[in-house]
């Protein structure tokens, strides 16, 4: 009976789930990269194992010098691994030059060809692949339409704004329908507002074309916003690999806890309460409770807790939650939330984010003594 049914847009991630069982788009096996200059050997990437699935939006996140760009350049073919194997769609491409790899890159500085028009820039890859001229024309036009630059085809790159140049760089890579698109901090040069708009735009384009995106960034909020999965890198190694929620909620290492968002770190000697629960006592009814699934050393325990998981109040909380007393050192009102910095009795500063909902505004002022509390499952025990 249905005459014209509205087409429902494909749910995000459909492509990824459909082909999850297939060969990974990119896989790195024990890949290392060392540079030697004179007597000094520097290790940029140290024995990385990584599988990036077909159609997923994958981010390599880390501070500068963590090896994320080197890792990407090894996937693109600009750098050869010192040891290890790079596979694209299961095929070993170690040693294959970049012009014979079926991946394309969006460069940090866009790297557009300054002497060519926007359309010529986008057509470059197709021409090299000897695609027929008529097909090139339609594919270039389609791609410029996708990035909303259809009316700028005859412009030179320098006549465009930063955001537009960015989209040309994206179109120039995507038009080749690569098996994976590599993006090296592509939004780094844009201002905040444009960057946020482009994040959503990139996500939309990725959903539409269904191509695997590998995104290199040092900006944790960017990675959290866009990625299906994130690999957090530090000193040439992957510290943690997981979904944005996994990485944010359950940081695997102290580095990840510190790098992603704001974390409060508490240390102390724990006493075992039950098989799954430990307690650090701070005296005077104050203690921190944490779940420890595995049998681990209870001395020198490091616990992290996210600022938004902590409740701040004047009354003494129940004994079955973590509770710590402190003095409010700083109150920063940010509209939707207020950030409090509370100094505990042992001189640790704990940051607390409180929603300014109708019943919870103006909880405490500078100098007030307050109780902080959070549930045991929000205390994450870090190794070492």
């Amino acid at each position: 009976m249905a005459t014209t049914t509205e087409k429902t847009p494909a749910a995000p991630g459909v492509v990824a789930t459909e082909s999850n069982q297939a060969v990974p788009a990119i896989s790195l096996e024990k890949v290392s990269k060392t540079y030697r200059s004179g007597q000094v050997t520097t290790t940029a990437v140290e024995s990385i194992d990584l599988e990036i699935r077909q159609g997923e939006f994958f981010s390599l996140l880390g501070p500068s010098g963590c090896g994320k760009t080197t890792t990407m350049r090894m996937i693109a073919g600009f750098e050869e691994p010192t040891s290890g194997v790079v596979r694209l769609s299961g095929k070993d491409v170690t040693g294959v030059p970049p012009n014979r790899r079926d991946v394309n890159m969006v460069f940090q500085s866009y790297a557009l060809f300054p002497h060519m028009t926007v359309a010529e820039n986008v057509a470059f890859g197709l021409k090299r692949k000897k695609v027929p001229a008529a097909e090139i024309r339609t594919r270039v036009a389609e791609m410029l339409e996708l990035v909303e630059l259809g009316d700028r085809a005859k412009y030179k790159p320098r006549q465009l704004s930063g955001g537009q140049q960015q989209r040309v760089a994206l179109a120039r890579a995507l038009v080749n329908r690569p098996s994976a698109l590599l993006l090296d901090e592509p939004l780094g040069a844009l201002d905040l507002k444009l960057r946020q708009a482009m994040q959503l735009e990139l996500k939309r384009i990725q959903r539409e074309v269904g191509i695997t995106f590998v995104y290199v960034t040092h900006d944790q909020s960017e990675a959290l916003t866009m990625s299906d999965r994130i690999a957090v890198m530090n000193k040439g190694r992957i510290e943690q690999l997981g979904t944005p929620a996994q990485i944010y909620e359950t940081p695997a290492t102290r580095f990840v806890a510190g790098f992603i968002g704001t974390s409060n770190i508490l240390t102390g000697t724990a006493q075992r309460v039950s098989d799954t629960l430990v307690r650090i006592d701070y005296g005077g009814d104050q203690h921190v409770l944490a779940n420890t699934p595995q049998q681990m050393s209870d001395s020198g325990l490091v616990i992290t807790v996210r600022p938004e998981k902590i409740r701040l109040g004047k009354d003494v909380p129940d004994a079955n939650v973590s509770r710590i007393r402190g003095t409010v050192r700083e109150v920063v009102y940010l509209g939707a939330t207020t950030h409090y910095t509370v100094r505990t009795v042992d001189d640790t500063d704990i940051v607390v984010f409180q929603q300014n909902s109708s019943d919870a505004s103006n909880l405490a002022d500078h100098g007030d003594t307050v109780w902080l509390s959070w549930r045991p499952e929000h205390s994450y025990v870090l190794p070492g």
Binding site: F78, A111, P114, H115, F124, R128, K129
Partner: protein, 287 residues
């Protein structure tokens, strides 16, 4: 008062340059034009007679020299591109930490005056000199082979003299080429050859353009090279001007030839710029 000064500042700053150009370019040019229209000789003196007829006269007498000069200049320019481009490319992309050393080496011979350098070429290329003598002794060349006093000697001499003027501007442009743009070409399936032809070469054209001007103009007007290496059959227009001025003391004739040469070169340069599309070339540089 200060506003007036602020507005006048750019003009005031440019003033020394204007005075310089006025004194040492405009005044001599006008003087040259004035001189070319005089008649007379060094003994009785020169009078202004507005003798316009001197121009067709020098053109009919010396057109061969002018054409030869342009031809040598062009050949030397092409030779400079052929030799200089690879040198500039190598220094810019493979010079590593020693780029400035290589550039210095390139310029080092030019601390010696052009006349001496050209004379040392004469020494090297003499019929029984170091090079030809050796080649003849091992019978790689016939006994009557010669290089000196041929057009080849002049063209190579010119190319040698003006080579740095080709290498430096090309190097300056290639040095500016963003290596990520070249990487982007490789990433988009270009071979090394295609990356060069479609990306590096077009981006370096402004440097070639500048180099052509810097080599073609002075080499067409050069007289030292032809004088030392060319012998009697390869005299260039510069040699004619020199001998008319210094040997024959025919100042009006020398001035008239100078003007003709200048006009020919200017017309040549403008049509070259138009044909190549200066604006398009400059656009690349700006981008």
């Amino acid at each position: 008062m200060t506003r007036l000064l602020n507005r006048a500042a750019p003009y005031l700053l440019a003033l020394p340059a204007w005075i310089w150009l006025g004194l040492f370019f405009v005044v001599p040019i006008v003087g040259l034009l004035w001189m070319s229209l005089m008649t007379g000789n060094i003994i009785v003196g020169f009078q202004q007679t507005f003798n316009v007829g001197i121009y067709p006269e020098v053109i009919t007498t010396y057109w061969e020299h002018i054409l030869r000069s342009l031809g040598y200049g062009l050949a030397a320019t092409l030779l400079c591109i052929a030799i200089g481009y690879p040198v500039a490319y190598w220094i810019a992309f493979h010079g590593g930490a020693h780029k400035s050393t290589y550039l210095l080496l390139l310029l080092l011979p030019f601390f010696v005056t052009q006349v001496l350098r050209t004379i040392s070429w004469k020494f090297l290329l003499a019929d029984d000199g170091l090079i030809l003598g050796t080649l003849k002794a091992i019978h790689l060349l016939p006994q009557d082979a010669r290089v000196l006093s041929t057009s080849i000697a002049v063209i190579f001499g010119l190319a040698y003299t003006f080579l740095p003027f080709m290498v430096l501007p090309i190097y300056a442009v290639l040095e500016q080429v963003d290596h990520r743009v070249v990487e982007a070409a490789y990433d988009l399936y270009a071979s090394r050859f295609h990356a060069f032809v479609h990306v590096i070469l077009p981006m370096s054209l402004p440097g070639v353009f500048a180099g052509v001007l810097l080599v073609f103009v002075p080499s067409s007007a050069d007289y030292v090279t032809a004088w030392v290496l060319g012998g009697t059959h390869n005299t260039m227009i510069g040699n004619v001007i020199q001998s008319q001025y210094l040997v024959n003391n025919a100042y009006p004739t020398a001035a008239a030839i100078t003007f003709v040469l200048m006009s020919v070169l200017l017309i040549g340069i403008f049509s070259y710029a138009k044909a190549l599309g200066t604006e398009r070339v400059m656009e690349v540089q700006a981008g």
